[in-house]
């Protein structure tokens, strides 16, 4: 047997190249698992009717803004076609999962507040114009129309108070007590939140929403409970977790907010309070004359994507976080993160068992390790390359995807057997001596393989195209596996087998 000849063959080199790439990709990027394996919640939301991409984007932003309120990390919102949105959150507890579902179902509540007085709520925002760039202002602007009542109320409040801050809130934590870290407390008092006004942010929210803020300095749970009396819930912001347990034991409703890595402290304040802004009152609005046509401008150049996004968010918030279309929750899949671990192990065991069983059966049929080992090796490489590509494109490996890999391996082994049998010929009765004979047989084997691969790819493409649900993963990995099979691993196996079986005749 000529190893050098095998290794130096172009098709085998291609296989080795792909194997190396896959191993590198797997080692450096790792695999991303679907929620049905890693645990988490996936919510399929249906819009009342199909919408255009622009509306879809508004829906996405609106959902994102609302869900941010929960302080849950890594929320993925994926529009699906023109009528579905998938909301996925990894690694959440059941309770957090329920909160997410409730938030999606509920309408957001909007408040505009000035000097601790709420002058407008969602129903006072009559019309929100589209976000546009205003070259005169040098800013992105969101025009909107206020109700007459709200405009008059604001005019009275803002008389002579140019430069004071206006705050807008979407679902603020009303009637609650915030126990915050020192840094957070300081940030709330920063000039950024006070502007030229005479009330601090803490004073404003206390007056408007009955939100009490305490700086945490090792108070006992009892002391905190005493201060928090009358509040609906206590929110611990950047405070150690043990306190939460103790307060919960006392029968209090406790929520915890943690600052994310690299999160700006001011952004963190906004996120906890669900605050947008504050926005500076312009000279024109402080004259005491009510104006119903107002706008919020966000400074930045025309190419400033961040400013544009901020403006988009404001426009969504002004619509009370309400969505341009009605939506309904169609499907919820929840799986606890602990269970997922178990699944990962099971799938691995099942995969290895399947591979060994295939190897054993192939060996039983041919009684030759020379055939069984290359067959297993080829299947194994196929799995490795599929996983390698999955890790490269960050495909979410869910259970259907894994089933798809297994299905692809199943057809793969079948095709290797076709090649092997074509090469073996008539079980030794008539030996093929001429090389052209071997080539002809290989040609026929590849005709069979190509025909069956194309039918499977055609069948699976329909699945990929038509399904909304998780089965796309199944279709994707099956197609990927078949393509890798006919383009990379099968030709290489053909070469190896030709050397090991055919070449010796």
């Amino acid at each position: 047997m000529n190893w050098k000849k095998i290794i130096l063959n172009g098709r085998v080199i291609l296989l080795i190249l792909f194997l190396t790439l896959s191993v590198v990709s797997l080692a450096t990027r790792g695999l991303t698992f679907g929620l049905d394996i890693s645990g988490g919640i996936s919510i399929t939301v249906k819009l009342e009717n199909p919408v255009d991409p622009q509306t879809m984007e508004q829906v996405r932003i609106a959902l994102e803004q609302r869900l941010n309120a929960l302080g849950v990390k890594d929320i993925v919102i994926e529009p699906w076609g023109n009528q579905f949105v998938l909301v996925k959150v990894a690694g959440v507890s059941e309770e957090e999962g329920n909160q997410i579902v409730e938030t999606i179902e509920r309408q957001g509540v909007f408040y505009a507040e000035f000097q601790g007085v709420i002058f407008a709520t969602g129903k006072d925002i009559l019309n929100v114009g589209s976000v546009s760039y205003d070259p005169r202002e040098g800013a992105w602007v969101v025009p909107f129309r206020l109700s007459k009542d709200a405009a008059e109320k604001f005019a009275k409040l803002a008389l002579g108070k140019a430069g004071y801050p206006v705050d807008m809130f979407l679902d603020p934590p009303v009637n609650s007590t915030l126990v915050v870290s020192k840094e957070f407390y300081q940030a709330m008092l920063s000039p950024r939140f006070q502007m030229n006004g005479n009330m601090t942010l803490i004073e404003r929210i206390s007056k408007a929403f009955n939100i009490k803020v305490i700086q945490y300095s090792n108070q006992t749970p009892e002391e905190i409970a005493k201060v928090a009396k009358g509040s609906e819930r206590i929110i611990l912001v950047d405070v150690d977790g043990k306190l939460a347990e103790e307060l919960k034991k006392m029968g209090l409703k406790v929520e915890v907010r943690k600052r994310e890595k690299n999160e700006d402290i001011e952004d963190f304040v906004r996120r906890v309070l669900r605050l947008y802004g504050p926005y500076r009152v312009s000279e024109g609005l402080a004259t005491g004359r009510p104006s119903t046509e107002v706008m919020i401008s966000i400074g930045g150049s025309q190419n400033d994507i961040r400013a544009r996004n901020d403006a988009q968010v404001v426009s969504v918030v002004l619509r009370s976080g309400s969505l341009p279309v009605k939506l309904s929750i169609e499907r919820i899949d929840y799986i606890s993160p602990k269970l997922g671990e178990n699944f990962k192990k099971q799938v691995l065991v099942a995969g290895i068992a399947a591979l060994l069983v295939v190897g054993a059966i192939v060996y039983l049929h041919y009684r030759k390790l020379k055939i069984a080992i290359p067959v297993m090796f080829t299947s194994f490489s196929e799995v490795l390359i599929i996983l390698g590509i999955a890790s490269l494109i960050k495909w979410n490996l869910d259970l259907p995807s894994i089933a798809g890999i297994i299905a692809a391996i199943g057809t793969g082994v079948d095709q290797q057997i076709v090649i092997t049998d074509e090469l073996l010929g008539e079980s030794g009765e008539r030996k093929i001596v001429r090389r052209s004979g071997v080539l002809k047989r290989m040609g026929r084997a590849f005709f069979i393989i190509l025909a069956s691969a194309s039918t499977t790819v055609v069948a699976m493409s329909f699945l990929f195209k038509f399904f909304v649900g998780g089965l796309r993963g199944f279709a994707f990995t099956t197609i990927l596996g078949i393509l890798i099979g006919i383009l990379i691993t099968r030709p290489a196996y053909g070469e190896i087998a030709k050397e090991l079986i055919g070449g010796r005749r």
Partner: protein
């Protein structure tokens, strides 16, 4: 191998009988499906994914399903409870709550009864189920048509192509009948498996057809016998892989896909190596008779 020698029986069988037996099985499968339709009003039992409703899975819990169902019915919710096991340890119970019932009540009850057990919950709205079903039917129909076109393009002869298409169809029908008999529900996973079956089925049929039609240097019997052996190897390896998958996993998605594929592959063995082979042998005999 000894078993492979036994396959000789098939070589000696008369083509007419080779066609007849699989057709009888096909007819029986159709009867089962129609019977199921008469009894339940649907061709195959539809799972929660298609009907809407909720499934709560509790891994690692052992409880008497009937007892639990009774306890849940005391909450005013009629639920179905079933037990499942996996070979590599594990197992647990699944609770099916029909659409429109209060799942939260059941969830709260279960949390109290099995504290510390992490659940897996799926809730599906009825309209979504309807859409999944429509999509499923569409996907299967299109895939089937696509497959038929590809097969015709490859062979360009009507009789063998039609036979390949029919045996793929028969595989699916038999798999569905077996799903009825074993109580496996139609779900996204089983729809995918039925689609996959098209691929597997065409695989073996193309092998047989190519070998018989293109292998001119041997007699039909020789060619048939050698392909039969290849086909047998193919089917056993795939079955081996699927059975180990089915044994080791407790994930319903994987179990369901594996069992439907196992049904289909068994049917496919018959439809390819007996039915299709019979048709081809008659077809070749006729063609060669004409030539003479």
């Amino acid at each position: 191998m000894v078993i492979k020698e036994k396959l000789r029986v098939l070589v000696e069988m008369e083509p007419k009988r080779m066609i007849m037996y699989p057709l009888i099985v096909f007819a029986l499968a159709v009867v089962v499906i129609i019977g199921n339709y008469a009894l339940t009003g649907s061709l195959v039992k539809e799972g929660i994914e298609l009907k809407g409703g909720s499934v709560i899975t509790l891994q690692g819990v052992s409880a008497d399903p009937d007892e639990l169902a009774k306890e849940i019915s005391r909450l005013g919710v009629e639920a179905n409870v079933e037990r499942f096991t996996g070979i590599a340890g594990g197992g647990g119970i699944r609770i099916y709550v029909p659409a429109g019932e209060d799942v939260n009540k059941v969830k709260a009850f279960l949390r109290e009864k099995f504290p510390g057990v992490e659940p897996e919950i799926t809730v599906i709205g009825p309209t979504f189920g309807k859409m999944v079903r429509e999509q499923g039917i569409k996907a299967i129909a299109y895939a089937f048509i696509g497959m038929a076109i590809v097969v015709f393009l490859f062979f360009r002869v009507p009789v063998p192509s039609l036979t390949v298409v029919f045996s793929a169809f028969s595989d699916m029908v038999i798999a569905i009948a077996l799903m009825d008999l074993f109580g496996i529900e139609l779900s996204q996973a089983t729809i995918a498996a039925l689609l996959m079956l098209i691929g597997y089925s065409v695989d073996s049929n193309i092998l047989l057809t190519t070998r018989l039609l293109r292998r001119k240097e041997f007699t039909v019997e020789d060619a048939y016998y050698s392909s039969l052996k290849t086909g047998f190897t193919m089917s056993t390896t795939t079955l081996g892989a699927l059975v180990s998958l089915w044994l080791f996993s407790t994930a319903k998605v994987i179990d369901d896909i594996a069992s439907v594929l196992i049904f289909g592959l068994l049917a496919d063995f018959m439809n390819t190596w007996i039915f299709n082979a019979g048709v081809l042998r008659m077809y070749i005999a006729k063609r060669e008779g004409k030539k003479k």
